[in-house]
Every structure is written in structure tokens, then in C-alpha cells.
Assembly symmetry: C2
Homo-oligomer: 106 residues x 2
DNA sequence: CTACTATTTGGCAAAAATGCCAAATACAAT
DNA sequence: ATTGTATTTGGCATTTTTGCCAAATAGTAG
């Protein structure tokens, strides 16, 4: 496999891996309606604030969200609207699974 | 957070997690042109056949691919065409990253 | 049945991800 | 400067993922 293809696949995988966690998906859903600060997201997720902060770092590191400080709080927002297309893509796979009785809920 | 939402997020995360590995993305790309047997995919990936077999299990377990045996080989195919939409989604995020100089290649 | 090819599974060690607490940092207000 | 609130980082234990080898299983052919 050539190096360019390898790099491209790794870049894609990094983004998808960042999406592969329920809390991080929840965060993106919360941000879909507009920017939110860490405290708000922490409340929505229900984990320790340090845990949520690290999830946010994961999302930021692959360019899925942006952040900016206002006063002493940090607000996160979805980086590009197209991120939300993921949900449609995933949902159609889940739909197909249901019809084929592949249960993803464990 | 209500249980239904939690379940939905976990189902989505499971699919995205399965997509979060370069070899598994390569496999899906290979399958985009039509079904292939394990040996062919193993050659494309370049890992041990047992490793590739486990990657294929991951993809099958979340309903991204189907398999069927013909003779003594097993052929894999993409389960639903919409899976390929993922690549477009990811690519648009990568594009945005490049413009903002977030490098995903390490 | 035996030999052969193709694939999967078990087992294991190494690596990465997860989530908490405690400590550090950033900023605001007094 | 000190205190208080908001967020991030360090450290660490636990869990999960990864990838190889060896062994088991599935099927074909002689």
C-alpha cells in the first residue's frame, strides 16, 4: 500500500475514532443547537468535568470542534456543519441493521 | 440522560468505533468495488490473515459488511451502500481541517 | 480417510483508551 | 494579593483494542 493512501486512511480513522464514543456523540448532539461551555456539557454528559474536558480535547484534536474562551469559561462549537451528516450516515446503517435484526444494543 | 438516548448513542458509537481503524477503512474501500474474499483483503491490508479476519468480524458485528461462503472461501461485501457516504462526510471534515491547518497526519 | 487450502478462534503480550482524583492553570472580582 | 469559579493537565488503575502465533474448524480434492 502506498504511503499517501496509508496517510489518508489514518487521517480518516482518527476522525472516526474520535466519534466512536457515546459521550463524545452526546457532546456533538448538544453542540448541534449552538455553542456550549464545558460546565453545560459536563452536566449533559454526567461524567466528571475532567473526563468531559478530555473528550473535548479529543474532538478538538481532530478538528471536529472549535473552542474559544469568554471570561473564565470556554465555549465549544461544532467546527463544520457537515459533521452532522455523520449522524444521518450512521442512522441509515442502524436502520438497515434493524431490518436484518442485527442488534447493536447490548 | 434517558435510557433510550443512551442506547441510541451507544449503538451509533459502536458503528463509528468499528470505522475508526485504518485497516478496516481500507477493507471497506476495497469492498466498494465489489465483494472480495478474505485472502484478497488480507493481501490488500498486509497484516496477518488472522488479524484481517478479526477486523472483518468487527465490521460484521456492527452490520457494516455481510459475508457468505462459496467453496472454501468466504466473501465479504458492503452491507448497505450508504456506508460509503461516511467517506464523503469524513473527507469534508479533513478538507476543513486542512484549511485551518489542523494536521491529522502524524 | 488424507492431504490441502481457506478462514476463524484462542491465547497472550503490548499498546491505547477510559475515567476518576488531585493538582495546576486561567480568569474575574474583591 | 486573595479568594472563588471554570477548565485543563498529570497521574494512575482499569479496561479495551490490537496483532501475532498456534491451533481449530470448514470445505475441496484425490
Amino acid at each position: 500500500m502506498d504511503q499517501a493512501r496509508q496517510n489518508r486512511l489514518e487521517a480518516r480513522a482518527r476522525i472516526l475514532k474520535a466519534l466512536g464514543h457515546p459521550s463524545r456523540l452526546l457532546i456533538l448532539e448538544e453542540l448541534a443547537t449552538g455553542e456550549k461551555c464545558v460546565a453545560e456539557l459536563t452536566k449533559a454528559v454526567g461524567s466528571d468535568v475532567s473526563t468531559v474536558s478530555k473528550h473535548l480535547s479529543s474532538l478538538r484534536n481532530v478538528g471536529l470542534v472549535h473552542d474559544h474562551r469568554r471570561g473564565n469559561q470556554v465555549f465549544y462549537q461544532i467546527a463544520t456543519p457537515c459533521v452532522l451528516n455523520f449522524f444521518n450516515c450512521v442512522e441509515s446503517v442502524i436502520e438497515a441493521n434493524i431490518q436484518q435484526q442485527i442488534l447493536l444494543i447490548k
